[in-house]
């Protein structure tokens, strides 16, 4: 049985990854999960400088989901390399670093710094964050800005470059094409959907930052639809994510068009979710006599 998946030059041993921001820097889950079994660990998003994050409340539960507004809190690239990366190097699992910046130049510099560190196998760009040079509008909602920032990063790294697409756009297939044209090796589909919840007694937003990113099973049908649409528009592999709780959910994404999947919010509910999903995928392949996981990607029968 072949579970291997290629993202650009990077070969993953299997299609199960962690979604950025839901698996810490790996250490938090090592007690529950054999990290060596994962296709890749995608770490919490990093920036050039440490970021304190938003005031609380930062999370609120919603029907079959949660809203978060953590505010990209992170230790910064330098401390990550010094303090967190050595732990991850101990495993025989691909390490993908999610990162972001306030400007195109910061993205490029961050990519450059990360690419020179030993033990990082791929980069994932978060483009769902505000652009300082464009009135803090979101990078990933404007095709031209997206093209510019992805190209700038592409010039600075030879590592596999994944662009994590924002679902808060009219046409995600177009954004995926733009990322591909700018040199991305793969796209992550999708990031959280912007949402809001209000306490009707106090009439205050339930999150201190007013809006937050919605994740969990509540967004899964949207994410599946977006993976399906992106699959029609690009040739590069898609990493499907959005409310994957079990292997049935993971298979749905693969059949819709994903080459790999990322498990996010499910880690909060069940710390063993990633490996249980991997076991379930293997079981599915056995039952259906599938030799190569890649042969299932995008096989949804819409006729």
């Amino acid at each position: 049985m072949n579970l291997e998946v290629c993202l650009g030059k990077l070969k993953l041993k299997n299609p199960v990854m962690t979604a950025s921001g839901t698996f810490g820097y790996g250490e938090e889950y090592a007690e529950f999960v054999d990290i060596n079994r994962l296709g890749a660990v995608v770490v919490k998003g990093l920036s050039l400088r440490p970021k304190e994050g938003n005031p609380t409340p930062r999370i609120v539960e919603t029907p079959s989901g949660m809203l978060n507004s953590i505010g990209l809190q992170n230790v910064g690239i330098e401390r990550f390399i010094k303090e967190k990366l050595p732990f991850l190097r101990r495993f025989n699992t691909s390490v993908i670093v999610n990162f972001f910046g306030d400007t195109r130049e910061e993205y490029a510099l961050a990519a450059e710094k990360l690419s020179s560190a030993d033990g990082i196998h791929g980069l994932e760009m978060n483009i769902s964050c505000p652009n300082k040079q464009a009135g803090w509008s979101i990078f990933g909602t404007d095709p031209k800005v997206t093209y510019d920032v992805v190209s700038a990063v592409r010039k600075k790294t030879n590592l596999t470059l994944i662009v994590k697409l924002s679902p808060n756009v009219t046409d995600i297939a177009l954004m995926a094409k733009v990322a591909e044209d700018a040199g991305a090796d793969a796209v992550s589909v999708i990031n959280t959907l912007t949402g809001m919840a209000i306490d009707i007694q106090t009439r205050k937003p339930k999150l201190a930052n007013v809006r937050g990113g919605l994740s969990g099973p509540a967004i899964r049908p949207i994410a599946v639809r977006m993976v399906y649409e992106v699959k029609q528009s690009v040739k590069i592999p898609i990493i499907g994510m959005g409310g994957i709780m079990n292997s049935d959910d993971a298979m749905e994404f693969i059949i819709a068009g994903a080459a790999a999947v990322a498990v996010g919010t499910a880690n909060f509910v069940n710390p063993r979710a990633t490996v249980e999903i991997l076991d379930g995928i293997i079981e599915y392949m056995k039952i259906h006599g599938i030799e190569d996981i890649g042969s299932l990607t995008g096989t949804v029968n819409v006729t």
Binding site: E52, G53, V60, P63, Q73, F268
Partner: protein
């Protein structure tokens, strides 16, 4: 030592109209809890509600452990409906714990409402002399009084409606006690869990009288493992995770 396991409900009894005491089995080989630690408990069947709920360890029993909870929202309402033999997913014990006071120092333990749940195991474990200041809105929200007295603790009670003990706020009772025992003040250490306003007042007492206070905090929590960064509290050295660096903090660390 596993910290993620399936537990069986041994008992889930009502203490009053909106407080329950839940006894869960502890399978062999799982980690032993310490006073002040907490568990994340699955209250759902399916994905709604999605997240586990955090509950303080109330008591380690011979075959399991207990949590005391107030029925406040959907999660605790669902938990109340779960009967004997129902199995649930449990993650824990999590977080840090109440430190043992230094030699020669006596703990003054302050509980506000359901905050009793967190400090109770500390009182249970601590062998020396300890004082309890326990406040609630009304007498029907004061629990385990006989047990507290049975542990040989000196217990001060206050209720907001005056139905039991002193009428008013428990921090005022604490303050009066400290005022009338001024000469002993250096011998005390405070341990507190309760509503945020109470903890803040304790923090002020701690600062003005120069007494160390350990307070157990609560925040919205998703993972309980330090990964989601949802449950942070602002401290003098930046945001810290209630689930990991806490839930017990020195009150002087907190930026209110």
């Amino acid at each position: 030592m596993s910290r993620y396991f399936t537990s069986r409900i041994i008992e889930n009894i009502a203490l009053n109209t909106d407080h329950n005491l839940l006894t869960l089995s502890l399978p062999e080989g799982v980690a032993e809890p310490l006073p002040g630690q907490f568990y994340m408990i699955g209250v759902n069947r399916g994905t709604d509600p999605l997240l586990k709920r955090a509950f303080s360890l109330f008591r380690r029993t011979s075959d399991g452990f207990q949590v005391m909870y107030r029925i406040k929202g959907r999660g605790t309402s669902l938990l109340r409906e779960m009967g004997k033999e129902v199995t649930i997913e449990v993650l824990g014990p999590l977080g840090n714990y109440y430190p043992v006071p230094p030699e020669g120092q006596a703990p003054l333990v302050i509980a506000g409402g359901i905050g009793l749940a967190s400090v109770f195991p500390f009182l249970h474990a601590y062998q020396g002399r300890a004082f309890v200041f326990y406040g609630a809105r009304s007498c029907d929200e004061i629990f385990m009084l006989d047990e507290l007295k049975g542990m040989g603790r000196e217990v001060f009670i206050s209720t907001v409606d005056g139905s039991l003990g002193t009428k008013g706020n428990i921090v005022d009772t604490l303050d009066k006690y400290l005022e009338s025992n001024r000469s002993d003040i250096s011998k005390y250490v405070l341990y507190a869990c309760g509503p945020q306003a109470m903890l803040r007042a304790i923090s002020e007492v701690s600062a003005s009288k120069g007494i160390t206070a350990y307070i157990s905090l609560e925040e919205h929590m998703a993972c309980g493992l330090g990964a989601c960064l949802g449950c942070v509290v602002k401290t003098k050295t930046g945001y810290k995770r209630v689930c990991k660096e806490g839930p017990v903090f020195k009150s002087e660390e907190i930026t209110w």
